[in-house]
Symmetry: C2
Subunit: 368 residues, 2 copies
């Protein structure tokens, strides 16, 4: 007997966007010494956020406020945007899923870059959309190419991350704004700014919540160090934001996440420290790469892509050799991006473990 799944869901492949480090640890039978592969913020959240969550822990018998009123108010003030242009969700992943659900009917086209965020693609497949990809232009996503493809195919959504994941590259605000201005009226640009707080201000367009052709995603998972709490937000026109009221899981946001995010947002001094630490770690990673005869790509994120100097097979061997040495890292999935490995910024302890493991990992890969 086969359970009565919908034809669409029955047709979906049983793939997952990412395997977590814990599953790798279990199959290896050994924990990682350095967890610098998932672009988590190893510097951690503001101590004030940790304190706020601990203080609220005894109150979790209560559901969180389903309107996320306090956090939306604080974010509205922080960005100087209207409260009704903000949607809070259980991380950007959940918000991307709802966005696809709200805009993509089965068979509708969606445009993204080949090698960009797999979880977005997972949602597009999950709602029956037809994914159309545009190659990276060098190590950059290609705004004009994405828009051209969206126009050509009559796409409902077009996705770009700025700064980019997995390459850490970025475009300046003018180029992104030109992209927004070129979005067709029957299409929505998903502008993923999960790493926005690490980027120079010149990379981030002004907020314009009058334009219903763009939705921007921000998160507390990266710069604010709260990945495990699952809290992201989307900023759009109130018209677009309003549709989430019809599809979102209203009581889905965690009460401690609300408390932690509020405290993290209020502690902008700590965010500035994080930015400085990340900048220092980016230089440290560049130095480690140089010590091994490798180069890094410029980064506007809390991770750095190291060009291993050969093809994807070689980089995959380097990655495997690092993992065998208890250093958890990841790498891009498609050529030619996959000549790189991707290292998350971290305190010196993790950087030192990486520095020690890399020469042997490279030697092993070169022998293979």
């Amino acid at each position: 007997m086969t359970a009565p799944f919908t034809p669409l869901v029955a047709s979906l492949p049983a793939t997952v966007p990412f395997v977590g480090p814990e599953a790798q640890e279990r199959s290896r039978g050994r924990t990682f010494a350095a967890r610098i592969g998932a672009n988590e913020n190893v510097f951690g959240p503001s101590p004030k956020a940790i304190e706020a969550m601990r203080a609220e822990a005894a109150n979790v018998w209560q559901y969180g406020d389903p309107t996320n009123f306090d956090l939306r108010k604080a974010l509205a003030a922080h960005h100087a945007i209207p409260e009704d242009s903000i949607v809070i969700g259980e991380g950007v992943d959940a918000l991307l899923g709802l966005t696809v659900r709200a805009f993509v009917a089965p068979g509708d086209k969606v445009v993204t870059s080949a090698g960009a965020y797999p979880t977005f693609n997972y949602h597009v497949a999950g709602f029956g959309g037809e994914l159309v990809t545009v190659p990276y232009a060098g190590d950059y996503e290609d705004p004009e190419g994405l828009i051209a493809k969206a126009r050509e195919g009559g796409a409902r959504l077009v996705y770009i991350a700025n700064p980019d994941n997995p390459m850490a590259s970025w475009h300046d605000a003018a180029r992104i704004q030109a992209m927004i201005d070129a979005v067709p009226d029957d299409c929505l640009l998903c502008l993923d700014e999960a790493y926005g707080e690490f980027a120079p201000d010149s990379a981030l367009p002004q907020w314009d919540t009058t334009d219903s052709r763009v939705i921007r995603f921000r998160t507390f998972s990266k710069a604010y160090g709260l990945a495990g709490m699952r809290l992201g937000y989307a900023v759009s026109s109130p018209e677009v934001a309003g549709v989430f009221e019809r599809v979102r899981n209203h009581f889905g946001v965690n009460r401690l996440a609300q408390a932690g995010a509020l405290a993290a947002l209020a502690d902008q001094d700590y965010l500035a420290q994080t930015r400085a630490r990340v900048e220092q770690a980016r230089q440290r990673i560049a130095g480690i790469a140089a010590d091994n005869g490798l180069t890094v790509l410029p980064s506007a994120t809390n991770f750095v892509a190291i060009d291993c100097g050969r093809d994807g097979d070689f980089a995959r061997q380097v990655l495997a050799a690092l993992i065998a040495r208890d250093v958890f890292v990841r790498m891009p999935g498609v050529a030619p991006l996959d000549r790189c490995i991707r290292i998350s910024c971290a305190p010196e302890a993790e950087m030192e473990l990486f520095a020690r493991a890399l020469p042997a990992a490279l030697a092993e890969a070169r022998k293979a």
Copy 2:
């Protein structure tokens, strides 16, 4: 310009399943003195769960394990069921949404009781299902009526809560098992046991994870007191459980929720205490009702339905008068269930506030 929503999403009404107490507090301009309306567990979670969450708080820069390995393992041992029959999600609400998504294509029929859980109905509408309702039989959901309606209409899903929300009534395991046995092969029974830990053992069927016609929902929000942490689970055949891998938000579960739930599950002594406190509070609520010339319905949950003795308009006036006296309660939405108001079990402080407010609220309603 109208944003290019899908026709289905554009057609959805802008309603929400529940208004949270916080929104009511803001519109009232005053906080509630007793929060006994959302079936939250006012006795709170195990101190060990609180401690586990506080201890893990500094680690939330890490995503939670997307496989929920440790918690699934613990639940499998607790219930003596296979690990691959368990799906962990961001609360039962999220799991209900995924279930509807996986089984209900637009136009497919879904059967539930008129006046049962509104959030389930919200998901059915959200995925374009056609909701068909069966009346309660007295103050009980009607298993045979639900199955008959499902057979008649060729439904994909049929929903029942046992124990029931909002009436707190329950059926014994034999009757529920007979219902499961009568589910057509092309239909799935959603058996919502969110209040299962409060029910007598005789109300809960044996686990049978070989039957792909039933999926059972449990939660850490009620008996375990972790509503704000958003953690529920579904138990089904591995075939049905497996499909969630294709649609769920893999990194969606909160890291502190995982830690808190593990600790709460391990503290079965505390759960037994909670059950005893809830039983005591049920009697207290019955006593308060009797003091006011009212009767209560039998309850297998952590809330009690008080029959206000007249029609829905009268009960709504009683409810409004309680809210005006800073006591947050809710009530069923459809007649004749709406002759009742629904009171969550709570410590004596809240019970006393309710006891003090009820006589005046009744007097006010009787004068209106």
